[in-house]
Amino acid sequence: MMFTGTPLPTTPNPWTASAMIAAIILTSTAGEVLTAAAMKSVGDLDVIRARSGLMGAIRAVLTCPLFFAGVSFLAIAFFALLLALNHLNLSLVAPAAASLTLVTNAVAGKIFLKENVDRRRWAAAGLVCIGVYLLAH
């Protein structure tokens, strides 16, 4: 069955489109870094689940303040994505946001999470970034 939805409105100017995509990238990067920091402070969920059951694992996540900070930013990123999808094509928003978020997360992971982003990880982020762009362009 063919999808016959409402056609997209007039495409916004490049600055507005860039601002929409930048908002997704910045808020999702902040959300992912905060969430990753939260999960590291909680510990391995498989171990917690084995020791305290599923409810124990859920409780461990829900009692971590950093988790809620991360989820708040991810929620903002979600609504920024909805807004962008309402004005721009998925073929523009998805590859731009997905590929650039990989790079910003690698930088943020190194700076804020002190992760060991070695040459292998930079190369992987670069390859995936270009790959996502080519795949969805």
Binding site: F3, G5, L81, L83, R121, I130
Partner: protein, 146 residues
């Protein structure tokens, strides 16, 4: 398996969101309540359900692996969607897209061959670290992806 769930649920959820939002009237920042109303439409609802499954798997992966390990590994979902569209939906995949598939696969192969977690020195105290404990200098470990 956890990374596979992340890679499957996220692109399917995004596709549902895209279909739901393009079916709606244009939403402006002057009327943000329309975005709240969008959450209760069937396609957006299905998208949110898939994204909740994605998020649970994602949190589990982040509890035992680095963010810079999890994100490239889960980008394999893009390849999954492209292969489904080629072999199930019989869509044509251009040379450019095949190149994209190869690059993502190479990138995922690269990152998954390395250590999953940046190990930090154990705290001297016997008590578990506080939620807001500062991060120490990193050392790599050979934790394997699950």
């Amino acid at each position: 398996m956890v990374l596979g769930l992340v890679a499957t649920c996220a692109p399917l959820g995004d596709s549902c969101l895209a279909r739901g939002m393009t079916a709606m009237r244009p939403v402006s920042l002057a009327h943000p309540s329309a975005l709240i109303a969008a959450v209760f439409t069937p396609w957006i609802g299905a998208g949110i359900a898939l994204l909740i499954a994605f998020f649970a798997s994602y949190l589990s992966a982040l509890s035992w692996a680095d963010l810079t390990f999890v994100l490239p590994a889960t980008a394999f979902g893009n390849v999954t969607v492209a292969l489904i569209s080629r072999f199930w939906l019989q869509e044509t995949i251009s040379l450019e897209r095949w190149a994209g598939i190869v690059l993502i696969t190479l990138g995922v192969g690269f990152v998954t061959q390395g250590p999953a977690l940046t190990e930090r020195p154990a705290p001297i105290s016997a008590n578990p670290p506080a939620h807001n404990a500062p991060l120490e200098d990193p050392v790599t470990t050979e934790a394997q992806p699950r």
